[in-house]
């Protein structure tokens, strides 16, 4: 089909796709009011008094108080991933990875373009490696129902920031890497947007999305086996 014909077709027909009827405003409002009242009543029964109210405001603390002896699986896991990333970064690059990503500054002893390219590769590999470790941990935690989603969300936001830097850098010049980073961005964004106490079905849907999109397996393929892959790359 000629491109202009196709564009015409889209312009003419796309607005008819699932053309919505008029919004049933009143009906919807009544439903929302009723549902919120039911939710409030259920919440009141559950929390029983002022202490419950306070714990509703601070779910993270409540979590710790209700189950004080619970192992800090998430904290330990995330700390290990971050430590691994920092360690790899120090061993493999002389400058911080973020500097290399955002603004490689030429100097009298400036690295050759080949070295700059290698820096991006190292930064990308580190990021993909950290993301793979994080997502594996996230999936395991969801399956074991032991996650701390607030921490997961915070970590996802950090990874998301790096992911966006890499997407805007020459690291994304390679089509395959760009596609992987874009798909990874969607998954990280979903986790970053998790509420502190997400419904289990939301978590399940994210992990299913991970598996269906093959993001984890593609990450594993993209990350060289063993951490030594990033060492000495420059």
């Amino acid at each position: 089909m000629m491109d202009d014909r196709f564009d015409d077709l889209l312009r003419d027909s796309a607005p008819e796709y699932n053309d919505p009827p008029e919004t049933p405003r009143e009906e919807l409002w009544q439903r929302i009011v009723a549902a919120r009242e039911a939710e409030r009543a259920a919440s009141k029964e559950k929390t029983e008094g002022a202490d419950g109210e306070r714990s509703h405001i601070l779910p993270f603390r409540r979590l710790g108080r209700v189950r004080p002896g619970r192992p800090l699986t998430w904290a330990a896991g995330i700390a290990a991933v971050l430590a691994l990333g920092i360690g790899l970064g120090r061993m493999s690059v002389k400058q911080p990875a973020s500097v290399a990503i955002s603004a490689p500054v030429p100097s009298s002893s400036a690295p050759a373009p080949r070295a700059t390219g290698a820096a991006y590769r190292v930064a990308t590999t580190e990021h993909l490696s950290q993301s793979e470790a994080f997502l594996t941990l996230f999936r395991t935690s969801v399956r074991g129902k032991e996650g701390n989603e607030r921490l997961a969300s915070a970590t996802a936001r950090q990874l998301l920031a790096t992911n966006r830097l890499l997407l805007d850098s020459p690291a994304a010049a390679d089509a395959r890497t760009r596609l992987l980073l874009q798909d990874l961005e969607l998954v990280l964004a979903e986790i970053a947007q998790l509420s502190p106490q997400p419904k289990s079905r939301d978590l399940q849907l994210i992990t299913e999305g991970l598996e269906q999109g093959g993001v984890l397996s593609r990450l594993r393929t993209a990350v060289p086996a063993g951490t030594s892959a990033t060492q000495g790359a420059l």
């Binding site: 089909m1 000629m2 491109d3 014909r5 196709f6 077709l9 889209l10 027909s13 796309a14 607005p15 008819e16 796709y17 699932n18 919505p20 009827p21 919004t23 049933p24 405003r25 009906e27 919807l28 409002w29 439903r31 929302i32 549902a35 919120r36 939710e39 998301l160 966006r164 997407l167 805007d168 760009r178 874009q182 961005e185 969607l186 964004a189 979903e190 970053a192 947007q193 509420s195 079905r201 939301d202 849907l205 299913e208 999305g209």
Partner: protein, 177 residues
């Protein structure tokens, strides 16, 4: 009334402000939910869930984006999650009657190009369809889509490009007619 003032009043528990906020945004939320779901009951469910979540989380709204964009992000998240659940249920319920023998195309059941286009949009991967519907059907900007889906506007553009390419591919045989 200014958006910030409206939000303050809702947070203070003013029911008329809640209704005003709902009235200002319900059409846009419902339209998006209906476009994505293609079904009245589901669109109503997703709209309802969107506003329930929005009211319960309004204190977390920081004003980095507009309230409309923030609501859009909740709406699309609720809708995509809902549709994934529906798809999972449908997959479980697929029986032998629904099996299409290999080699039998669906073309004969599709009377015209517009029907075929709608089917092709339905068949797009979830992420592509969301971006396509938001941009090409509902007129969101890439910045709004990026903020709603939590992705970079460049990613939104790339997804839209791929969505259109898929549609072009799906309708390629009509060019020969």
């Amino acid at each position: 009334m200014e958006e910030r003032e409206l939000i303050s009043r809702v947070l203070a528990g003013d029911p008329s402000a809640e209704r005003a906020l709902y009235d200002a945004h319900v059409d846009r939320v419902f339209r998006l939910a209906y476009r994505m779901a293609g079904d009245m009951d589901r669109a109503q469910d997703y709209t309802q869930e969107t506003f329930i979540r929005a009211f319960s989380r309004l204190q977390t709204f920081r004003g980095d984006a507009s309230l409309s964009t923030w609501l859009g992000s909740i709406a699309i998240s609720v809708t995509l999650n809902g549709l994934r659940k529906v798809r999972r249920q449908n997959e479980r319920e697929v029986g032998l009657d629904d099996f299409t023998p290999a080699g039998q195309t669906r073309r004969e059941a599709e009377p015209d190009l517009k029907t075929r286009l709608n089917q092709a949009i339905d068949d797009l991967p979830e992420g592509y369809r969301a971006v396509f519907v938001m941009h090409d059907v509902e007129g969101y900007t890439h910045e709004e889509i990026g903020a709603s889906l939590g992705v970079h506007p460049g990613t939104s553009k790339a997804q839209l490009f791929r969505a259109r390419a898929r549609l072009r591919e799906a309708l390629a045989d009509f060019a020969k007619d």
